[in-house]
């Protein structure tokens, strides 16, 4: 029997050609696997067929109308972007964009983080820790809570040492903080290169480096909503 996730990756055409050919041979030689592949193909085709009916329906006027009404008040994308850039004063995070794309614990010194501006991170004993606002968000904010301002929490998980870690995002900057010694210690901090800042929650994708950092340290899977809530109630221990 082919390993489950590999079997489905093959079924979905996600394996490189040589590996796919190997799995295909194994599946063909095993009647149970062949039947399972057929069942899943039929089920997925049935599911696509059922929802294809929605796609084939005419779009209701209440939806199509919103876009057509918008045509009356055309806003030039470049103009709108320009206005937005001038409207918002660059935050400390954006100013930090001049730094290298990846800032790792210890590289940032206290001097860099101060200068009279309240900073979401701070240095303590040569380590990078979350400052009050980020600390509050990491301590009391669930990923599901809408965050109209301030840091937004992404994934929560246990790393391979059993420590609870959470990813966060503040405008274009994202990072990974882990609960150590009663503090949230910043393990990784990422910022896209200058000029490529993208908006809060609207970015086209997560910083791939952050995902790599999560994949490298995670033990098992990220917490689901219930596990996250329960971990919060237990003080992230």
């Amino acid at each position: 029997m082919v390993e489950e996730e590999k079997f489905f990756a093959w079924l979905d055409g996600e394996l490189p050609a040589d590996e796919a050919a190997r799995v295909e041979t194994e599946v063909a030689a095993d009647p149970r696997s062949s039947q399972l592949a057929e069942d899943h193909r039929k089920m997925a085709a049935g599911l696509r067929g059922a929802f294809a009916k929605v796609e084939a329906q005419p779009v209701p006027e209440r939806l199509a109308g919103i876009v057509s009404q918008e045509r009356g008040k055309v806003v030039d994308l470049a103009e709108a972007r320009e206005r937005r850039l001038h409207r918002k004063p660059p935050s400390l995070w954006v100013q930090m964009g001049a730094l290298a794309a990846t800032l790792v614990v210890g590289i940032i010194t206290g001097n860099l983080l101060t200068g009279g501006v309240p900073s979401p991170i701070g240095a303590e004993g040569g380590r990078l820790v979350a400052s009050a606002e980020l600390e509050d968000a990491l301590y009391a904010r669930l990923a599901s809570m809408p965050a109209d301002s301030g840091p937004r929490i992404g994934l929560t998980f246990r790393d391979k040492t059993g420590t609870i870690c959470r990813t966060f995002k503040e405008q274009a900057t994202s990072g990974l903080a882990c609960r150590e010694g009663g503090d949230w210690r910043i393990r990784n901090l990422y910022q896209p290169p200058e000029g490529q800042t993208s908006d809060y929650r609207m970015a086209s994708g997560q910083d791939p480096q952050l995902m790599e950092a999560v994949e490298a340290s995670i033990d098992g899977e990220p917490f689901d909503a219930e596990q996250e809530r329960s971990a919060m109630e237990q003080g992230w221990r």
Partner: protein, 168 residues
């Protein structure tokens, strides 16, 4: 065409697909169209945040998914998800349903709704919308291994509920 007109034209072309995704996430058609409406409104308001050259569909799906998560969770819905075995019995297997397109959709939506939210979004994006694992991993900001394992659990539960063989 100005960039703005291009944006609206592409958005209009994507509406049928966006609605399909909304139906896969929602409990019923009314909720689905509410979600689609909120997504279109948010997209139009935030259009300057979309980066031309990047995929508009992924950007829109991401907005929809975030709005859906906010709505579902703020509704305080904490339903205990039924075990696939029980759910399979609930959904039932009525041969007449196959004859009726809307019943077939209802049955598919009902099965999707029984999946935990985390599995439902992955199943919808990969099995129904046809995105690749990597694209979904980036869209949902999840490690690819998590996407893959949620997909396995979700589709396994769906197979129990919907069956793979036409005869059930």
């Amino acid at each position: 065409m100005t960039p703005s007109e291009t944006f609206e034209s592409e958005l209009t072309q994507l509406l049928p697909r966006l609605r399909r995704f909304a139906f896969a996430l929602s409990r019923n058609g009314a909720d689905a169209d509410d979600l689609a409406q909120a997504t279109i409104e948010r997209a139009l308001r935030s259009r300057d945040q979309w980066q031309p050259g990047s995929r508009l569909d992924s950007w829109l799906y991401r907005i929809m998914r975030n709005l859906w998560i906010d709505t579902v969770r703020s509704r305080g819905r904490r339903e205990k998800h039924e075990a696939p075995e029980d759910a399979a019995q609930d959904v039932g297997e009525d041969p007449r349903e196959a004859m009726d397109a809307s019943m077939e959709l209802q049955r598919a939506m009902s099965a999707m709704e029984r999946l935990p939210d985390e599995q439902r979004e992955v199943v919808a994006l990969i099995l129904i919308e046809g995105f690749g694992y990597r694209e979904v991993s980036e869209m949902l900001e999840l490690p690819i291994g998590t996407v893959s394992s949620r997909l396995v659990r979700g589709r396994t539960a769906l197979l129990e509920m919907l069956g793979g063989n036409a005869d059930g």
